[in-house]
Symmetry: none
Subunit: 145 residues, 2 copies
């Protein structure tokens, strides 16, 4: 049972926090489409991974309030990046699905982001990258606990 308040585990938590904060600030500046906000990009990424979702589900996953997600989804729809359909079972809800155009944009976005990340990762050796790759799914899990 790790003790996160002292010792190596506490140091790891501290390193993790510091690195995540700084890395996120650098990634934030690597936007492909300047007209898409970080949260809009994140919503598209979530839809790409998880498939269709309701606005409420997206709001919970992205940690924004429902009215904010209403606006984000409306903007994405206006840009032709998502489609809104009626929910099959509940007429209060809607189903948000990304379009092919969004998937293509994400592809392009990933290519450009990789160029930036690769320039950073080029400084790592193979073991370091392996450690990072193994941690990626754990970080994802951590992000939505």
């Amino acid at each position: 049972m790790p003790d996160f308040s002292q010792g190596d585990d506490a140091a790891a938590v501290n390193a993790l926090r510091s690195a995540v904060m700084r890395l996120s600030r650098r990634l934030k500046h690597q936007r492909v489409d300047e007209s898409l906000s970080p949260t809009e990009m994140s919503v598209l990424g979530t839809l790409s991974r998880c498939g269709s979702a309701t606005p409420g589900e997206l709001a919970r996953k992205e940690h924004v309030q429902p009215p904010s997600m209403t606006r984000i989804v409306a903007l994405l729809e206006a840009k032709g990046l998502v489609r809104l359909d009626p929910h099959p079972d509940d007429r209060r809800q809607k189903v948000v699905t990304q379009t092919e155009q969004a998937e293509a944009m994400l592809e392009e976005s990933r290519r450009k982001r990789n160029a930036f990340l690769a320039s950073l990762v080029a400084e790592l050796d193979e073991d370091e990258w392996a450690a990072l790759r193994a941690a990626a799914p754990v970080l994802e899990k951590l992000a939505h606990i």
Copy 2:
């Protein structure tokens, strides 16, 4: 040499970016002083690492425009977290220095965010935490490159 444009490495990069962005958003909400914005906190962090700086230098380091930094510095000064002195060589410039109060607040902030992150990490199993702990120093290195 990994190829980040396709395959598992590309997936890892994508997962990494998404997780870092979402995790950082949650960590940003763990503020000691709710009246301090993320950029204000970041300016204090920069001053903590690099010592005194002019508003122009801070604007470049934080990737904000000069008028935004003018406002941020004014807010920090009003809160007693930085001090503004005249530049010794150039009367157009000013020198921004953090106060002892700012350093104490930064320490408290790090403690609180670490505690929050630890509460998330406590939900992981042993293998997951091991993967994360191995990746922590690598993430730190990545953030500093």
